[in-house]
């Protein structure tokens, strides 16, 4: 046991800490510099709607490229091999393109400042409040997961105790979001994007060099415990835990590609907020599509290192051959083990900075979206309406502090769960799946009424929580991963059913109030955007970019059939 623990500790020298220190100085500097340009709550909470598309697009993908994603997906790469790419290609790209082309005109065009505010415009203020409160709770819980995971890395890599690491990490995120608001968070996310690549690219190159290149990796993986199945994406039976190849493909396409992925990418305000900060409709629509390009390519430098780790690092290879042997090492250690194995001091420091950056990206995204929803939807529209803007800016700052303090608490709560990924998936089925159901129905069915909105949300959440309790209690015999998938599906179906039922017995809103909020009542003209000046040119057309990224993804699939 003792040996395994010291195994995980990275062999750092002073030069590595220099890189980490440079990074932190710059991050705090961004917060300080961003502070000067903030004078209104809109500046603080939505960056004054002024950012160019390439900035919001990279922030969009970076807000998702948190540490849980990095560690979880390298772990999947080590465990399952190539099928992991489904999480990126079918599980993200189509939903991101759909968000940009179909949904963004409604989000951005409605001038809503948040997802709950959009729900008020489409449904009623009860729906806004129900969603705002559940979102605030979910944000604090997920921020806690990010913080706990960051604490774990600091503990494992640098030897800090969790009790010290968690508050220190919270303090850093707090200082730059407190000072600079969403601009600082977004600017840091873009910076983090490049630093994370500076971690992943050298790791992939060195890892491949050590195993004898791509062909060497192929040989060793197919000779390994997983066999040659790990080298092709379809049918992915190990990933889905469905033995029948046809049903497995169906599960990937409809389960991962539709319910889970569309639910996450199109309604998660931590993501959507990045697009709302764009400077105009054209930039807002391009935001998720620009983000889809790196999202399609990133598995190359995430899945390959995971696969390399499982054949190159002896302790991990042993675990893969015999997972039940016990010990401290598991797939979640793949990334840090490979970093220690192949990166020399110097690049190692950059890699540690990148890993810390990834954790902060996730938490900063949670905190900055919590800010916006709490300030606008709970405080301004409900609890204390009608104050001057200065007051709400101060509320926004106060919520940043309170959110970070609460996240320290929920971090220790997250620590009481055995598997972080299961915890995240359960939260997702509670909050995102019902929201997606209500959202998509309200967008395409103008008959849907205000009360149907919030009853659909509540019923969906109740359904998901019920499934979760039944799985935990052993009433339904499912693994917890499959359990949260069933929970998400139940939430979606129940949410739709209740919304339809309630709509039929309540009065719909007049058509005139729903223009710009419902597909059939919005003319094509209102859904499009200016194509002149800095928005001109075919390469700035959301549709052209969307088609390009889908073609790119299909081509990538052909390389690993």
């Amino acid at each position: 046991m003792l040996l395994a623990q010291t195994d995980l500790r990275l062999d750092t020298t002073a030069i590595d800490y220099v890189f980490v220190a440079i990074y932190f100085v710059l991050v705090l500097g961004i917060g300080l510099a961003a502070r000067r340009s903030i004078s209104s709550s809109l500046d603080f909470l939505l960056s004054g709607r002024s950012l160019p598309a390439w900035v919001t697009g990279l922030a969009f993908v970076s807000a998702n490229l948190g540490a849980i994603e990095l560690i979880g997906m390298t772990a999947n790469g080590a465990q399952y091999g190539i099928p992991t790419v489904h999480y990126y290609w079918i599980g993200a790209v189509p939903a991101m393109v759909f968000l940009g082309i179909v949904m963004m005109p409604f989000y951005y065009g409605s001038k809503a400042r948040s997802v709950p505010e959009f729900l008020r415009k489409r449904f009623d203020s009860t729906t806004q409040r129900v969603n705002a409160v559940t979102f605030a709770i979910a944000s604090v819980l997920i921020a806690g997961v990010n913080l706990f995971a960051l604490g774990l890395v600091l503990e494992a890599l640098l030897g800090w105790s969790l009790v010290l690491a968690i508050p220190v990490a919270a303090l850093v995120v707090l200082s730059y979001t407190f000072l600079g608001g969403l601009s600082a968070a977004i600017y840091n996310e873009v910076l983090q994007f490049f630093v994370i690549l500076a971690l992943l690219i050298p790791l992939t190159v060195a890892g491949l060099a050590r195993v004898g290149g791509w062909s060497g990796l192929m040989e060793q993986v197919s000779a390994g415990p997983g066999g040659p199945d790990q080298l092709s994406a379809w049918p992915g039976t190990t990933l889905t835990e469905i033995a029948n190849p046809f049903l497995s493909v169906l599960g990937i396409v409809f389960g991962l590609g539709f319910v889970l992925s569309f639910g996450y990418w199109t309604t998660n305000f931590s993501e959507v907020q990045r697009a709302l900060a764009a400077r105009n409709m054209s930039a807002a629509r391009r935001t998720p599509i620009i983000g889809a390009f790196p999202k399609a390519l990133i598995p190359i430098v995430i899945v390959i290192p995971g696969m390399v780790a499982a054949v190159l690092v002896p302790s991990l290879a042993e675990f893969k051959a015999n997972p039940d042997a016990g010990g401290d090492i598991d797939y979640n250690n793949a990334l840090s083990l490979l970093m220690g194995e192949v990166l020399p001091n110097g690049v190692l420091g950059v890699a540690i900075a990148g890993l810390l950056a990834a954790f902060m990206a996730g938490m900063a995204a949670n905190i900055s979206s919590l800010n916006t929803v709490f300030t606008y939807d709970i405080w301004q529209d409900w609890v204390r309406p009608g104050r001057e803007d200065r007051y709400y800016l101060q509320v926004g700052r106060a919520v940043t502090v309170i959110g970070c303090v609460l996240a320290i608490g929920t971090a220790f709560l997250a620590g009481s769960y055995e598997n972080l990924m299961d915890y995240i998936q359960a939260l997702f089925s509670f909050f995102n799946a019902p929201l997606f159901a209500v959202f998509i129905l309200g967008l395409f069915w103008k008959r849907m009424t205000g009360p149907a909105g919030w009853t659909g949300l509540v019923a969906g959440t109740v359904a998901a929580v019920t499934v979760d309790l039944l799985v935990r209690g052993g009433v339904i015999a499912l693994s917890s991963q499959a359990g949260s998938f069933v929970g998400a599906s139940a939430a979606f179906v129940v949410g739709i059913a209740v919304s339809v039922g309630v709509s039929l017995v309540t009065t719909p809103r007049p058509d005139a109030e729903l223009v710009g909020l419902v597909w059939s009542l919005t003319t094509k003209d209102e859904r499009s955007h200016s194509t002149t000046g800095s928005d001109s040119g075919w390469y700035r057309s959301p549709t052209v970019l969307g088609v390009l990224v889908v073609v790119l993804t299909a081509a990538l699939y052909l390389t690993v059939p």
């Binding site: 340009s37 910076l191 490049f194 500076a198 050298p202 110097g346 800095s534």
Partner: protein, 106 residues
């Protein structure tokens, strides 16, 4: 970099924020120089063996310098980052001019 951002007389909009491209160029410029120097002068065989003989510090450092250079060139070619949509015509030229001044910082 706080001093790299001159107090502009432009109104208090977030669009007046310093250009992110400068920050990226700065970070990777510094990282690149340190890594390249490390790669050239520190040739411990045990470290080189980790990456199968590739001088990872050197190549990563050079890659970062290229990235920093790309952002500097982009910054030179297209200095104005944003123009606020409402007062676009007035803001445009003004921010272009002010963006020329602070470039010594990068």
């Amino acid at each position: 970099m706080a001093e790299a951002d001159p107090p502009t007389d432009a109104p208090s909009s977030a669009s007046a924020l310093f250009d992110l491209r400068t920050v990226i160029a700065l970070l990777f410029g510094v990282y690149g120089v340190v890594l390249t120097v490390l790669g050239v002068f520190d040739n411990d065989p045990a470290q080189l063996a980790k990456s199968a003989g590739i001088d990872l510090n050197l190549w990563t450092g050079l890659g970062m310098l290229v990235l920093a250079a790309v952002f500097v060139v982009w910054l030179r070619l297209r200095p104005a980052l944003t123009a606020t949509p409402d007062d676009g015509p007035e803001q445009g030229p003004a921010s272009t001019i002010s963006a020329d001044v602070p470039d010594g910082s990068g």
